[in-house]
Amino acid sequence: MGDHTMSQRFYSRRELLWRAGGGIAGLGFADLLSAAPAVTAGQVLSPLAPRQPHFTAKAKSVISIFCYGGVSHMDTFDPKPLLAQRAGEALTGKGPVVPSQGHPGGLMPSPWKFKKHGQCGMDVSELFPHIAGHVDDLAFIRSMVSKSNDHGPALFQMNTGFVTAGYPSMGSWLTYGLGSENQNLPGFVVFTDWRGGPIGGAPNWSNGFMPAAYQGTPFRSQGDPIVDLKPPSDRSPERQRRWLDFVQQLNEDHRRRNPADTELSARVASYELAFRMQTHATEAVGLGAESEATRKLYGVGGKQTDYVGRQLLMARRLVERGVRFVQVYSGGGNFQESWDAHWDLKENHEMHCAETDLPIAGLLTDLKGRGMLDDTLVIWHGEFGRLPISQRMNGRDHNPYGFTIWLAGGGIKGGQIVGTTDEYGYAAEENKKSINDVHATMLHCMGMDHEKLTYFHNGRNMRLTDVEGQVIKEIVD
């Protein structure tokens, strides 16, 4: 893998795979053959069959909590007292300040107070009182940079590593690389905010040039989790089973005439899987099975916390059942509905933090209590941060030059703070980290070498990290 000179071998291995029965995943899949379990002739190999990582992994699953719109780091995890001292003064000495929208103002102080928390002494503002209790499990990166100050490209970069659309997303790479531990559920699940999806839409969880097996499946937080999971109510499970048996009889006859065609077998298998998925997916998100205490931990039933609480509890249940990658979006729709605090930072962040603080803390507590934090990597992030100067008097504009994210569990050393921004929080200064670095670190936690996880496309071995990225060694065990 990762060897540019083996195109001939590549294709012969692809044929070998077809012969063995795994052709259903299409081109590129052959790169993983060596990692796949032994396949006997005629057997159908699911494109999501679990595969060995490159090396022993700490993490088995990832939960990405995507605060879409962009969280203000100066108001949450990266205090800048200078902003209060110099309130209203121009931001100088940093070269031309480039806002995404016009009319930059002077420096704007944070409306919130900070306190130090945990053994590590991490500064957390009063917006995140519950997450503050977990700082010793979290690794903060305060020196993140992104390539775009525009939502669409920045979202794409966070999800796919590229600012242009059309590339496979993190979840696609992980399910392509590792398959999934549970064949009765999708391996890559996405929850969006009830107010709307993120800018850019479906390309954010796209499989790009990979086969459809690796695309994210949007889950609903109420009712049937997957659109078209169940037939209309007039079709009883018995009626559907009888129907499916008939379909499979038709398929069986057809296959008997073409016994070596593994695609036909694969399609027969896909129907059985779909049928099982109907029960399993429903069970997986059934919160009724959770104790009252657990539900409360996540804020389920709480006025502001119910929605995110339910989603994160569902996320835990999914990774518990072997789902590889779950992404939960906080924020969606227009104006204040996402974290995009152009207008009124105070109202915006108070609302979004109140919605997410308790549920996220609940998730961390719950994972830890169940011993799942060791093999579940949690990543909290937006697509960029916000500027230290004012916009529209009370808001802050986009800032790709410096922002904070955190990671926890799954082989991450807690209580770490990596990198700094300058005295205003305008730009990353020491130990800058790129999104490629975060992706490399995520893959590392999952047992994958980001330079070796490749997919052959358009004459190149493509990577999640393109040609860059370094594992952030400071925060991995």
Partner: protein
């Protein structure tokens, strides 16, 4: 000769490896490595060298590959040179007084010149295709295509399959050429046709169908990443894009010569500029459109055009040459920028394609509407003004003290911060619609509503948008300057670029024509198009016939249809590929001519049976000993369901339609909406080609069946088989609706007998009657109350036999 000093040695290493990009010609990362001072100052990432400590020096770390990206890009520094750098840094990093001597011209030449060797030109795909003699030893009745295949069969000890039966053949050909299953009548007629030309006649009938262009045009749309919206944040609908889609369909139906098809898309405005030719140039504007307009995004969009064009027409990958010479193929970075220079001058422009009088009438009608709206708007503003003023005052009152102070300070005495804040208040403090709505009294709300209703009434008279072509314009006959970009970095200009081609295909330069007198564009695109379709271009014809082949047999003769370079596959039948390529050009670039050759071959009519002995020798069917079975594409499965249910609206062309999508799947924000109509609305029962291609909202059934997302050139669709596909065909309301309509149709057309209904169901969906045991089993299944037949119908369209082309 005295040994060079360490300083001189270091200067040499820097000059040979570093200063082209970090020196006279360019200072990438703001780094200049020519003097000790500039080395110590460093660039964006900090000082390049810490004297005395190589391990802490960025220059060393990048050069040694300890930090990424390793330098110099794309090559490894020689161990001896790395050692020089190491010792030099540890010794204090002094440089000769004059620094590293590197002048701009030499540095640029190092970056820009990349000669192509004779051996590189000798790569199979760069040699002109030559028509080889048709091999002898063909099977009786075989044509030239068969003769080439037979030779390979013999050489590899393979036995070709028998001919498939007629029902299979007509189903295969109909799905392949029209994307629609044959009707029972058509099947019967073909089965009964005793004429020796039965097959040939069938092929001719299908090639002449108006639905042929809908099927084959779609393959082209995959290559050019067609969509009906612009993508990214705004994802604006492109209400005129469909005219291009219709043009592609028509061009296929008419068998427009492929060279003309290419010329018009690249430069229709520079040929005859007829309305149709302008519509063809929409090709240049099909890419996704970033809402941020900057030099960077413009270059990214150009990159998309260059990549799509070179991959689609020439089967080569070029995107990597944006930053450096191609690593595997002889494509210098300069070729990239010379091809970019072809497209550099154009900008998008929507041009009305109706007569001038109609345009004038339209303009007058619009102005009339606006004149009538104006006074009503004035009245609304008068109602709102006092409220607006009050809200603004209250807002000013709530501003932070330092902002109030800024406003209170006389403009000439304001600090820079105060100036910015005051300006911000002036420019951005405003009243939001919600705030105004909440403040308005009941009476004023009612008065305003009445006025708004008046406007709505007037707006009824606004005429519909005129037909436009999404075409392009250029600033004039002289192209604006474009440059080689060092390492692909925006603003890092190398030399001025003239338009060019892939230089490996010719030993002498391609001459671009001078624009004719009075030209309004540079005619570079025309010059480029002429090279693409010139008789001695080795790539275009091969790439085109290979794509035709791949859409008939599931795989091309080259199985990487958009990569004929070193990282692609070699042709399995090089002589056949060349023979077809030459034949293609000599036939006047007739796509249908090549298709006739393929369709009338024995190869196309082979059965798809397993043959054990062959499977052992050629499991991948590379030598085409059988017709491979292929899962149908997303759109064709949906079209098939609509067709057999008797629901399909077969109208060709026109604006796209929006069938229902569950709102949970697109969760609208103001910028992403999907005006889906109910499943029961027959206006959505059009062929899938006409389903609106919204870049940020995929139609779920298409997404799970691997329809490409329209973001980038798609050379070959994936053909996955996954559970979510089954869920949709099992449970989706639209599928169930048409299963019900299918059952209704059977009752109506086959009469009351269940066996007759089942027979007709098989014939409609699978193109054959059921066998006796199949019939009995189906009857016992369907004889289960009123839903039995519906479930049977849904089972047919879910079956493998329905979903795979035989």
């Amino acid at each position: 000769m005295a040994a060079a000093s360490l300083e001189e040695e270091a200067a040499r290493v820097l000059k040979d490896n570093c200063t082209a990009c970090h020196g006279a010609a360019s200072k990438l990362s703001k780094l200049d490595l020519r003097t000790r001072e500039s080395v110590l100052t460093g660039g964006e990432k900090g000082p390049a060298v810490t004297p005395g400590n190589h391990a802490a020096s960025r220059l060393y770390r990048f050069a040694a590959g300890l930090d990424q990206p390793s330098m110099p890009p794309g090559k490894k520094l020689a161990a001896a040179d790395l050692d020089v750098l190491k010792r030099w840094i540890d010794a204090g990093a002094n440089l000769p007084v004059q620094g590293v001597q590197d002048d701009k011209a030499a540095a640029l030449a190092k970056l820009e010149e990349r000669p192509i060797t004779a051996a590189e030109r000798d790569w199979w795909a760069f040699r002109k295709p030559v028509r080889a003699a048709v091999p002898s030893g063909n099977r009786p009745g075989g044509n030239a295509v068969d003769a080439f295949l037979a030779a390979a069969h013999r050489a590899n000890g393979l036995t070709p399959s028998r001919e498939a039966d007629r029902r299979t053949l007509i189903r295969r050909a109909s799905l392949n050429l029209l994307g629609l299953p044959p009707t029972p009548k058509e099947v019967e007629a073909f089965v009964q046709d005793r004429s020796p030309k039965a097959w040939e006649n069938l092929v001719e009938r299908l090639l002449a169908s108006r639905h042929y262009g809908e099927r084959w045009g779609r393959h082209w749309l995959d290559l050019v990443r067609y969509a009906d919206s612009g993508g990214y944040e705004y994802d604006r609908d492109r209400s005129h894009a469909f005219r291009y889609r219709d043009w592609v369909v028509k061009a296929h139906n008419e068998d427009m010569p492929f060279d003309k098809f290419v010329r018009l898309q690249l430069a229709g405005d520079e040929y005859d500029a007829s309305p149709d030719s302008l519509v063809a140039t929409t090709y240049l504007r099909l890419g996704a459109e970033n809402n941020v307009k900057s030099e960077q995004t413009r270059l990214d969009e150009l990159d998309d055009v260059v990549a799509t064009t070179v991959q689609g027409l020439l089967g080569m990958t070029v995107q990597c040459a944006r930053c450096h010479n191609h690593k595997f193929d002889p494509i210098p970075q300069k070729d990239y920028y010379r091809i970019q220079a072809v497209f550099f001058p154009f900008k998008g422009k929507d041009v009305p394609i109706v007569p001038a009088e109609e345009q004038a009438r339209w303009k007058a009608a619009v102005e009339a509407v606006e004149e009538r709206v104006k006074p009503v708007r004035k009245q609304i503003m008068a109602i709102e003004k006092p409220y607006r003023d009050r809200i603004m005052d209250a807002k000013k009152d709530r501003l932070a003290p330092y902002v109030k102070l800024a406003l209170a300070t006389p403009p000439e005495k304001r600090t820079e911060g105060q100036r910015l804040n005051a300006l911000q208040v002036e420019k951005t403090l405003n009243v939001l619609p919600d705030e105004l709505d909440a403040a308005l009294s009941a009476g004023d709300t009612a008065r305003r509503k009445e006025l708004l209703d008046q406007i709505k009434g007037i707006e009824q008279d606004r005429p519909a948008e005129l037909a436009h072509a999404m075409t392009v314009e250029e600033p004039g006959s002289v192209a604006p300057p474009s440059h080689f970009l060092i390492r692909g970095a925006t603003g890092q200009h190398g030399s001025l670029m003239k338009p060019g081609i892939l230089s490996v295909t010719r030993t002498e330069d391609w001459r671009y024509p001078e624009p004719p007198a009075g030209a309004t564009s540079s005619h570079r695109r025309r010059g480029f198009a002429e090279w693409v379709v010139s008789a001695d271009n080795p790539l275009t014809s091969r790439v085109a016939v290979n794509r035709i082949w791949s859409q008939h047999f599931g795989e091309g003769l080259v199985r990487t249809p958009s990569n004929f370079g070193k990282m692609g596959e070699r042709p399995t039948h090089p002589e056949l590929l060349d023979w077809l390529a030459v034949e293609f050009v000599q036939s006047g670039w007739s796509v249908k001519h090549i298709q006739r050759l393929i369709l009338n071959s024995q190869a196309y009519r082979m059965a798809s049976d397993d043959i054990e002995a062959n499977l052992a020798k050629d499991p991948g069917n590379r030598f085409l000993w059988r017709m491979p079975r292929k899962r149908l594409e997303a759109e064709i499965i949906r079209d098939g369901i609509l067709a057999v249910a008797g629901s399909l609206d077969r109208t060709v062309g026109g604006p796209a339609v929006h069938p229902y999508i569950d709102p949970d799947l697109f969760q609208s924000s103001s910028k992403r909406t999907w005006p889906g109509k109910p499943d029961t609305d027959p206006s959505t029962w059009r062929r899938s080609l006409y389903v609106f291609n919204k870049r940020t909202i995929g139609y779920p059934m298409f997404e799970v069946f691997d329809k490409p997302d329209g973001m980038a050139h798609c050379a070959r669709r994936n053909r996955s088989i996954i559970a979510p596909q089954a869920l949709i065909l099992m449970n989706n309301a639209s599928v169930l609706l048409h299963a019900g309509r299918f059952a209704e149709r059977l009752r109506k057309e086959a009469g009351p007998g269940l066996n007759d209904q089942i027979r007709l169901g098989y014939e409609l969906a699978l193109g054959r009657p059921p066998g006796a045991s199949e019939l009995a089993r189906a009857a016992s299944f369907a004889d289960a109350g009123p839903n039995g037949l519906v479930d049977f119908c849904q089972a047919l369209v879910n079956s493998n036999e329905f979903v795979f082309v035989p």
